[in-house]
Structure formats: structure tokens, C-alpha cells
């Protein structure tokens, strides 16, 4: 009992530090850039990011729009949540649509059994950034997620092609962030760089933040592919041997339905999710992202091209 109180008290101090750091970074962005935007997918990290934005500028509204790249293959629960949250906060929502780009003929859909729109997000993201002349796009990526992200700066410079050059990053000393750039170049900014998955859930619990229902256990029609549980959906063709069954599952990350896998879980609330993650033996991306399994440097390669 005593220990529980003690650790929870201590948690708060760490969360306070992480929160203060994220607020500081976000205020730097608002002050140094002309047209920043916050990338909001409806996922847990961007929910935290949005909370940080609310806090950083209170009692004013945060001075930037929220932006999402919709693949057209997202979870309907998440898209509904995204719209509701943006409306509650009175935020301007900019949506870049992969479907629209395909319909207009500027992008070609991938074909085959592993077709995914994940890669198509990058050109749409870059086009949306260009169209709205966004000079700083804040995202919820964390360094503990993936080995290439572990190397990325808080203020991450993108050239006029939107590309990241991991071999030539700007030095980033103390908390003195350098946002200088010329028109056409932009910055990606990651206020949650130093948070872990567990920190995110502790914060969601502490702040009593609402998250989309698919983060908690629910019965879902799934099938197994490459050892992962994929949701049955119209965008994902099944092979003959990939039989459908119903299982109690939840999602550790939310992304495109064609490349985000569910995990077996009966965690019905935030506490249960925290307890589950505290003993997890697999990373969140390993458990749920088919897109990272293609090659050793899949994330780095996508990031170089301008991915989140």
C-alpha cells in the first residue's frame, strides 16, 4: 500500500518533467514559426500531444491547426474520434487524403496481397505541408519506438524535398533549438521524444484522457498473417488458408488497417493496459506494425523520404 502510493507519487514528478519539456518545445515552435501544425491521427501519442497543446497555451487556444493524413483505410472508430476531438477543442482540422490523390491520378495504388497505403502517406503528407505552407509539423513520435527514431533530433530538419538526412543532422545542444530555415524547407518537431510507451499511458491515466475504443479489449473478426492478427476488412484480401476467427483483442498502436495488427488482450481499462505493457516482452511496433518487418531499415528508409 505504502509502496504503491510512493511510486505513484514519484511517477508524477517524472511525468511533470516530461510534460514541462513538451510544453517548452511546443511554445518554441509557436514562437519561432509562421505556420506550424500539429499532426493528429487520433492515436494515443497524438492525443497526449493535443493535451500538451491545450496546456501550453491556456487560457488561449493553441495557435495552430491540427492535420491528419487519411489513408482511407483507417479504423472508423479512430476517424470518428479524431473528428470529435478536433470539434471539442474548436481546432481547425486539415485532412490530406490518400484516396483523393489516387482518384485524381497523382498516386498509384499498390497491388498484390501485401498492398498497403502506408507508403502513400508520405507524398500526401508532403503535398499537404506544401499546400498549406506549413513550416513546422509537430508529431507524437517517440525515440523509444524504433531504432532510427532513437537517433532523431527534437527539431528535425527537412530539405525542400521533405527528406531527412540522418547522416547530417544539426547539432542540438541543451534546450536551444534551432528552427531557422528558408521557404520551402520545413521542420518536424517531436515534443514527446523522451517519453516511453509506459509514460504515455501513465499520462493518459493521470489526465483522464479519452482514447479510441480499439485501445481496449473487444471481440473482433481477425485472421493470422506472419504471426500477427489482422482485422478482417474490405481493404485486406485474405489468402485461402487465412481463416477468420473471433478473438478478444486490442491495439497497441493505431495506423492503417492494412498494416496494423491487433494483440490478444483482455485489458478493459487504462490500469489494465498499463499492467499489460509493464510486463510486455515485445515492443509496440514489433507487436503491431507489419510495415516495419519488411527490411532491417524500413523505418529509416521511409523517414528519409519524408514519412512522419
Amino acid at each position: 500500500m505504502t509502496t504503491e502510493t510512493a511510486t505513484r507519487g514519484a511517477r508524477h514528478t517524472e511525468l511533470d518533467m516530461l510534460e514541462a519539456e513538451a510544453i517548452f518545445i511546443m511554445r518554441e515552435v509557436a514562437a519561432e514559426f509562421e505556420r506550424p501544425a500539429l499532426l493528429f491521427s487520433g492515436g494515443k501519442d497524438s492525443i497526449v500531444l493535443l493535451r500538451i497543446a491545450e496546456k501550453a497555451f491556456w487560457p488561449a487556444k493553441f495557435p495552430f491547426p491540427v492535420m491528419h493524413v487519411d489513408t482511407g483505410h483507417n479504423f472508423p472508430e479512430v476517424i470518428a474520434f479524431r473528428d470529435k476531438r478536433a470539434a471539442e477543442l474548436g481546432a481547425r482540422l486539415i485532412v490530406g487524403s490518400v484516396q483523393q490523390a489516387i482518384d485524381e491520378g497523382t498516386l498509384t495504388e499498390e497491388r498484390g496481397i501485401r498492398a498497403s497505403r502506408n507508403r502513400l502517406q508520405t507524398p500526401v503528407l508532403l503535398a499537404t505541408i506544401a499546400e498549406h505552407q506549413i513550416d513546422a509539423a509537430m508529431g507524437g513520435a517517440r525515440r523509444d519506438e524504433e531504432k532510427a527514431r532513437a537517433k532523431e533530433r527534437v527539431f528535425s530538419f527537412r530539405d525542400e524535398f521533405g527528406q531527412w538526412d540522418p547522416r547530417n543532422q544539426r547539432p542540438e545542444l541543451w534546450s536551444l533549438y534551432n528552427g531557422m530555415h528558408i521557404k520551402g524547407e520545413h521542420m518536424r518537431v517531436f515534443p514527446l521524444s523522451n517519453w516511453t510507451e509506459l509514460d504515455i499511458w501513465h499520462y493518459i491515466e493521470r489526465e483522464a484522457l479519452e482514447v479510441p475504443s480499439i485501445y481496449f479489449t473487444h471481440e473482433r473478426e481477425v485472421f493470422e498473417r506472419d504471426g500477427m492478427l489482422m482485422s478482417v476488412c474490405p481493404y485486406l484480401p485474405q489468402l485461402p488458408h487465412e481463416t477468420t476467427f473471433v478473438a478478444p483483442v486490442r491495439y497497441r498502436t493505431v495506423g492503417d488497417m492494412t498494416c496494423t495488427a491487433a494483440v490478444r488482450s483482455d485489458a478493459a481499462d487504462i490500469r489494465a493496459v498499463i499492467n499489460e505493457i509493464a510486463v510486455a516482452r515485445v515492443t509496440e511496433r514489433g507487436a503491431s506494425r507489419a510495415d516495419d518487418q519488411f527490411s532491417e531499415a524500413a523505418m529509416e528508409d521511409r523517414k528519409r523520404e519524408g514519412y512522419f
Partner: protein, 424 residues
């Protein structure tokens, strides 16, 4: 549970990344899928069944070349403490990335290959950590397996390094013999060095006390952003958003607003829907003042009794980090200090530090990549600075090249000087 941020340093191939990999692996902090993927990558590259350096060497180019290029940040916790690790590159070409990692650390692990002993890069990195104000160094005498686990060799390396650290003025040096590949004295003790009775690296990291860097305790509040909601409910609200760099701020307290030079009082300290009784160093808040004054970004609210210098001329130590631009007298650059960005000009290059001998040679003509030295700078508008030794947050700055927008130097204020021509 408190947090320790530390950085690895030392020459290329001395085993920094392997050490961090070993620390994570032996303290059971590596997830199964991560482990499986580094096993696959190790085998594919012919690096044996598992190369633990791949836990942090995550970039394609790093794995191809077998070296670290940029800092990797790793997060881990034991029941005793939470850690943020910055694993730095040892190669001299990437020194600026090491400086990036070290600038936010309060302790450094300096790796040495027991066979090679103290080499030039060991000295350079130790000098940089000391310049950056890191007071605790752990000398990791690594690859003891290749030095026959010899206590004599260990003692030689320790003596060499202590002599150098003494010259640097570093007070706290802990020395541990180890082998990162096999794990001796990292998390587990192992059986090859019974003569060593000190703590393992993890035991040491879990218990070491490092001092807080802010020491003067006087209020420094750099204003980041002005909050003007213009809503019905908060019609006249005007809050100065920022993070307390040092000291404490309380409602009612008298403050001095710089550069205006106006004294006024704090009306309220707000933090998201609440008014706080006080805020202290590290807190991100919004301050309201009792009088309408024209305070904006880049201004600073300070303790009137212990105000920082309004400096337009000062001496500083620089780490020059550009591989394309040379620093020369009269050069103009942008200087970012706290939330303030001003134009600055190099009045003179005063000396250059030789990292081998720690001698400072006077009057260098220019600084190139990785040069460290003292300069005198002049700014167009004042900055509100404390010496770096007194306060990291208000004593540090970066220099930015106005044409490439690259960050070309990290700087530490040493001494505020009188205006040129004015009596000292």
C-alpha cells in the same frame, strides 16, 4: 524515482555501444523482437550470433560501417532509478554529435580500450565533458579480456587517466575494469577479476549522486510567448509563458523585467486552469504582472536583487562544429541564448585549447571543425547572461550561420566584459 541522464564518450571502437547494449541486455531491458532483429542483422553481417552494439547503432550507414555516427537515446529503468542514455560516436568527425549528447547529461562514461590506454580522443572527449560542466566521470577500462584481465595494466591506465583528469579539474572520477562483450562488471561481476572489489557499473549508476546544475537560485524567467486569449472570459488576460530557468516565482513577488529595466510585481502564476502558489526551476507556467508592461519573447523576468548582467560584450568558450565554415574575427552570426536571438560579432579569437596538453595557445587566426577555444563576442542587443559555471540555462548559447542556418557552435559564457572603450 529520480532520473539520471548520462552519455558515453571515448575513442572509436573502444566499446561504447557494446557497453550500452550489454547494460540493457543484462538488466533484461531488451524486448524479444528487438533481440531477434539484432540477431538476424548480426548473422547477416557476419558479426557472430549477436552484436550488442546494434541495439543502439540503428542507422543503415552505422551498421554498414560498424561505427556510431549519431547519438542514440535509450530509456531504461531499474527498480531504483530511471535512466536516459545518450550513446555517442567516438569518431572525431562526429564530435559535434557527441557534444549534442553530452550537453544534457549529468554524468559521462569514458570508455578506454585497456590495450591502447588513454588516446587523443579520450582526452578530447574528457575535455569536452568537463567544459560542458559534467562533474562526474566514470572511466570504463574496457576490453580487459584482451589485456589478460591484468590488474597491473588496469592500474597503469587508471593512473594515466587520473593525471589527466586532475589537470582538467574534474573531481569525481570512478574507475571500473570491464569487458563489454562478455559483461564483466557491467551488471554482473563475472569471475575473471577477483582483485576488483568496487561496484559494478550498474550498481554505481543506480546510487551515484550528481549535483543539480543551477546553483545561484535567483529567479530567471525567459519569456517564450505572450498569451492573449481575446475571449470573453479572459478578455484582458496577458500572460507571459515560459519555463523557470532558475529560482522560484510567487505571486506578490517583485521582479525586474529586462531589457525594459522596469520593476513590477507578479500578479499570478498560472498553470492550466489553476493558479499556483509558486513555480520553480523546470516548471512551465504563465506569469501575469500587476502592471501593463511591454514584455515579449526574448525578455527575461528576474530577481531585482540578483539580476544577471545585461551583456553586449563577453568572453566565452566555444566548440566550433562546422566543417564548411571557419570562424574568424569580425564574423557575424546569429546567437541564440535562452529564448532570445540576437546578431553577434566575433571581436577576437583569444586562444585555442590543445586537447592533448590542455595548453591554451593565444591568438589563433581561425577556428575549424572541432576546435575548442576562448573568444570575445559582441552582440547588437544585450543578452541576460550568467556565467555557465553558475547556471547552465542562462550561461549557454548556440551560434547559427545566417546563410546556411546551420548550428555552427555551442558556447559557454565565462565572463561578462565592459563595453569596448569603456573603463573596465
Amino acid at each position: 524515482m529520480d532520473l539520471l541522464r548520462f552519455v558515453t564518450a571515448g575513442s572509436v571502437d573502444d566499446g561504447k555501444s557494446t557497453l550500452i547494449g550489454r547494460l540493457l541486455y543484462d538488466s533484461k531491458q531488451v524486448f524479444e523482437d528487438t533481440l531477434a532483429s539484432i540477431q538476424r542483422a548480426s548473422e547477416a553481417r557476419g558479426l557472430g550470433d549477436m552484436n550488442l552494439a546494434l541495439l543502439t547503432d540503428g542507422l543503415r550507414a552505422e551498421r554498414e560501417q560498424g561505427i556510431t555516427i549519431d547519438v542514440a537515446y535509450r530509456y531504461f529503468a531499474t527498480p531504483k532509478r530511471k535512466f536516459i542514455i545518450a550513446d555517442s560516436p567516438g569518431h572525431v568527425q562526429y564530435t559535434r554529435n557527441m557534444v549534442t549528447g553530452a550537453s544534457t547529461a549529468s554524468l559521462a562514461l569514458i570508455l578506454i580500450d585497456a590495450r591502447k590506454g588513454v588516446v587523443s580522443q579520450t582526452r578530447r572527449h574528457s575535455a569536452l565533458t568537463s567544459l560542458l560542466g559534467i562533474t562526474h566521470l566514470v572511466l570504463c577500462v574496457n576490453k580487459m579480456d584482451l589485456a589478460e584481465w591484468s590488474e597491473t595494466r588496469f592500474n597503469e591506465v587508471e593512473a594515466d587517466f587520473r593525471a589527466f583528469a586532475g589537470q582538467l579539474g574534474v573531481q569525481e572520477v570512478t574507475v571500473i575494469p570491464m569487458a563489454a562483450v562478455s559483461g564483466e562488471n557491467i551488471v554482473d561481476r563475472g569471475e575473471h577479476m577477483p582483485w576488483y572489489t568496487g561496484p559494478t557499473l550498474l550498481e554505481f549508476l543506480e546510487t551515484v549522486e550528481t549535483p543539480d546544475h543551477v546553483s545561484h537560485g535567483a529567479l530567471r524567467f525567459p519569456v517564450q510567448y505572450v498569451l492573449r486569449p481575446h475571449t470573453d472570459e479572459f478578455h484582458d488576460y496577458r500572460g507571459y509563458a515560459g519555463t523557470v530557468a532558475s529560482g522560484t516565482v510567487t505571486p506578490g513577488q517583485e521582479i525586474l523585467a529586462l531589457p525594459l529595466g522596469i520593476r513590477t510585481r507578479v500578479a499570478a502564476v498560472d498553470r492550466f486552469q489553476e493558479q499556483c502558489a509558486s513555480a520553480t526551476n523546470g516548471d512551465a507556467v504563465s506569469i501575469r504582472l500587476t502592471e501593463e508592461v511591454d514584455v515579449g519573447r526574448g525578455h527575461m523576468l528576474v530577481d531585482p536583487a540578483h539580476a544577471p548582467a545585461s551583456a553586449t560584450r563577453f568572453s566565452a568558450d566555444l566548440c566550433w562544429m562546422s566543417d564548411t565554415l571557419q570562424l574568424r574575427p569580425r564574423q557575424q552570426l546569429w546567437l541564440k541564448h535562452t529564448t532570445r536571438r540576437v546578431r553577434c560579432m566575433v571581436e577576437s579569437l583569444d586562444d585555442r585549447l590543445d586537447v592533448e596538453t590542455l595548453e591554451r595557445s593565444a591568438g589563433p587566426a581561425s577556428f575549424g571543425l572541432n576546435d575548442i577555444g576562448r573568444v570575445t563576442l559582441r552582440t547588437m542587443e544585450p543578452i541576460f547572461a550568467d556565467p555557465y559555471a553558475v547556471s547552465r540555462d542562462t550561461g549557454s548559447f548556440i551560434l547559427i550561420d545566417g546563410s546556411s542556418h546551420q548550428t555552427v557552435a555551442g558556447g559557454m559564457v565565462r565572463e561578462v566584459l565592459a563595453q569596448a572603450g569603456a573603463p573596465a
